[in-house]
Subunit: 334 residues, 4 copies
Amino acid sequence: MIKFAQFGAGFIGKIHGANIAKHPRAELAYVYDVLPAPAESLATQLGAKVAASPEEIWASDVDAVLIASSTNTHADLLSGAIKAGKAVYCEKPVDLNIERVKAVAREAQGSARPILVGFSRRFDPNHAGIRELLHSGEIGKLEMMSITARDPKPPAISYVKVSGGQLRDQTIHFFDMLRWLAGEDPIEVYATGAVLVDPAIGEAGDVDTAMLILKFPSGALCHINCSRRADYGYDERVELFGSLGMALSRRKPRREISVYKGKSIVSEGLHAGWFERMEPTFYRALDALIRAMEGEQIEYPTLTDGLKAQLIAEAAVESLHTNRPVEITYWSPE
Amino acid sequence: MIKFAQFGAGFIGKIHGANIAKHPRAELAYVYDVLPAPAESLATQLGAKVAASPEEIWASDVDAVLIASSTNTHADLLSGAIKAGKAVYCEKPVDLNIERVKAVAREAQGSARPILVGFSRRFDPNHAGIRELLHSGEIGKLEMMSITARDPKPPAISYVKVSGGQLRDQTIHFFDMLRWLAGEDPIEVYATGAVLVDPAIGEAGDVDTAMLILKFPSGALCHINCSRRADYGYDERVELFGSLGMALSRRKPRREISVYKGKSIVSEGLHAGWFERMEPTFYRALDALIRAMEGEQIEYPTLTDGLKAQLIAEAAVESLHTNRPVEITYWSPE
Amino acid sequence: MIKFAQFGAGFIGKIHGANIAKHPRAELAYVYDVLPAPAESLATQLGAKVAASPEEIWASDVDAVLIASSTNTHADLLSGAIKAGKAVYCEKPVDLNIERVKAVAREAQGSARPILVGFSRRFDPNHAGIRELLHSGEIGKLEMMSITARDPKPPAISYVKVSGGQLRDQTIHFFDMLRWLAGEDPIEVYATGAVLVDPAIGEAGDVDTAMLILKFPSGALCHINCSRRADYGYDERVELFGSLGMALSRRKPRREISVYKGKSIVSEGLHAGWFERMEPTFYRALDALIRAMEGEQIEYPTLTDGLKAQLIAEAAVESLHTNRPVEITYWSPE
Amino acid sequence: MIKFAQFGAGFIGKIHGANIAKHPRAELAYVYDVLPAPAESLATQLGAKVAASPEEIWASDVDAVLIASSTNTHADLLSGAIKAGKAVYCEKPVDLNIERVKAVAREAQGSARPILVGFSRRFDPNHAGIRELLHSGEIGKLEMMSITARDPKPPAISYVKVSGGQLRDQTIHFFDMLRWLAGEDPIEVYATGAVLVDPAIGEAGDVDTAMLILKFPSGALCHINCSRRADYGYDERVELFGSLGMALSRRKPRREISVYKGKSIVSEGLHAGWFERMEPTFYRALDALIRAMEGEQIEYPTLTDGLKAQLIAEAAVESLHTNRPVEITYWSPE
């Protein structure tokens, strides 16, 4: 059994905690949260102890930590976990300050324990399926990729102000996904956006509607379009256009129900939110970390992947502000 | 050029006349209708002459006749055409009196000219496509067939009273289709029905909702369901279930348009009527007759096919009235 | 917390046991199986005790029992549970001997505890969705229902010999479902079948391919087609045709992946088996029993429902053997 | 009857000629082609005369001309038609030299006769359907548009060298379409491309794979992706994302046929080429011109529309060459 401690007992913490409890080869030993009440409640429900401090966790015999606390604590906790020799599942992003991320990446250089950054969409069976189709040669060489990502409702303005903005908190999932799907790192990005959903988002210095084009070294092109608000639910889909065919990770309906009536066919639509759609990916991501800890050769989003996605986001933000394509500069701790 | 004369200048006559005029290797020489005005009008529009009588047509140099007049005239006109050595495209049914059909079939024995009975659904590309899939072995040996056929609106009660009823005027198309698809003749039929759409149909001695099961000599089973009224347009589809897979001739939407809105996906529905859906099959059926006349080896629904479909219908009607499965007795002019 | 004891630790027992353990308001106290090893193993995994005998369970403080043992033990265990005042989740069928089922139904007359018979398909969200559409009036009055049910592979011949045959073990799910969907009990059934999949099934006195038509008191008609083997996976779907529209519980694909290549669009197909498709319904059925025990007004398949489905199956078997429609005779313990 | 003369008797000329002949209120009086043989052949087939020169046509009593000759002749013929007071259906583009197009637009200022530039996709029922949905308010205010356009096979290199390149000959249809759909003119375009299909296209100075982002004055964004080669047939589709929903003009399959086999569902794919898919739009475009000539208030792509699409293409080409967004400058003859 792999022993876990978990930081954070909020919405996403509850999901992760329940997944650890459900996993046949993992157990949740500790929960820590700056707010004692949620920590107590989650720990009681899952049969874990409340840790008095992160230090208690570093000193404990847990094998791994799951960092689901607020973003501004991720980097310090990652540092602590690295020093204590714990494996880590860290929710994204590592830190909004890219220099801080680099510093953590440098620290992690010496560590042999797996660190998984929570780009859980890599574990969606539809997305993984089209990746296999591309990598197996079924659709030939990739020439164009197209990603659509639309949230049903914009986040609170208070979140928009601290999240880094649409490209850094929403699109970033797809900066990771496009690298993972293509098997290569984009070299240039052009991003443009508009404030069409809520003027308050504009006043907060951000956009709510964005379109991007990225270029890969192979010459392949990638389009992303994002919105903060879709009237019809959570819409995420990917198209891979290759020299020998096209693979689609299609929209997933809530239920397979249709009504034929009058001149129309009315079918049940999409999920109400990203969570309903993506919830099963969290367990699979956790399972991947556990398998990696058990020695299995298994792919997962690493700290370097997390950093690269953020570097793409930084270039995209620069492009958005300057209205010109921006070269993406990568960085390696070595 | 193949010269045609046409009997009947009503709704379906106009379609056939225009198709003859459009065909590059056919021309319409004569139109005959018991009502002079529609005959004049159609002839003028298509550059043909009005024939004063059927006899004028039998005596003329036309190569073929298209019989699109009222059902009670079909058998006599077929007889006339056979005697005059003309090829024939005859709208179904040949005659509601099965003995009269047999008599015509006997007369046709000697004739070398093609006679096509208007089961034009055989020329629908979707249906033809799944037939090819079955006959090529792609889905293995046929085990179950399922046919759905629903008209948007019931016909006029006056028509119900003379048409022979739902099984003889609506389902008959599918009695032909199942033979053509399966490549074998069913040996038994169980039919049941109900009056759910309009009590007046029941008062006229007919049903408006019917379900049937037919058995093939191979053991394969066939289900048909028919309704006189579907709120959502014309619904016709076929499923072939075989030992190695299933082939579907799916519903055909009017347009490929969808709207994602709220909790639903609303797509444009089916055609408003059978004619909008099946219209292109008339030209293809005509073309098949013309090719047959030109000597091409080409399959088309023959007089024998027309008779067999009617014999299945007779057995089905008996089953409907007796509520027990009825053996189908075929008959051959030889 | 509702305390459960479970009979049976085989394949389906493991599923039920895990569901009880997962349910927030239930706990598994005992496991009993005639084979001690599987009982031990399941009990250990789920933190329950092994019961030495059914009597130990009747005498215990458990509130409910889950009967997932072999079919021939169901009736006795139900009797025992009724006498001991326990609520019951009983896998279908209650007993292959219909008189034995009636006897148990009579015994249950006095009991106030809920007895749920495992027709878990009632808890499938797609099927439940079209039922709501019908009952809300969205598609008008039901006129035709069509159910397709095909298993990927035939069961072992040893099972065919004791199961009561295709209509009693496969189609029976849909005898329950059609009553539940229509909201009325069919009055007549015509069933026909063939041996097309495996001659050994025929030698065992059964069919492997079946088509049925049932009539409802309202005049509505219902078609069912069943096969023991579908090359393309588990295929279950339902169509409700009403006076104002049609509702479909469509096939559910494994994943939403398509490849456009050459002249074809290749999409991922259906689930490998009924279990992969229906697995989530078991938890929902258990949850319904628990809610009923908690006093919630909630619908679930009762002992009477189980009996009625079996009475329809008996009539269907008689129809299959006599090749004529058979009236369905219901029976009530009162 | 409206009398037409037609310039050009090649592939597209044959289509247009047959459409004129088929139209109930039009007749084809003259055909002119620099090559006498095709002119003779087409004229004979359609019952028209061969004109000895354009002048013969200008002097004739024809009401309208259809210009389907080679691109380099369009502008002169348009000029001639304007001077002679004929209505015009002119295949796109008017001229590759934008100054020449402006000159013709200036000449047309005085003319009251309709001039239709052949952006026939405006007459596709699917595309027209989503435009109605947008303009009726059904999906709210447009926020993002996405257009995919992929040809099955690249054109001959000889054509690539004279066509003006991918953006000027392929994408230009969608520069018109996006204006027509959005109801506003884009103000900026970013275009990027790659040579992934055939190096010879790169050697000819062009790209074969292109992605673009355009901005509308309202803030709405538009993405286009184009390829010269799609393994799976002709792929054209449009998505309109609005504040209240999303409308799709979906792909149109050749036939509605599917096979369920093994783990896959194989459905018939897309049309073999743009012509098979778009052929019905030519007749509808002709019909629009005829209705406009008859005095009906009807929308059609005008000379100004043709010019605007070309001005967008020029800006896109500049963007492609400079790798920066380019402002689009419109021009008006007034």
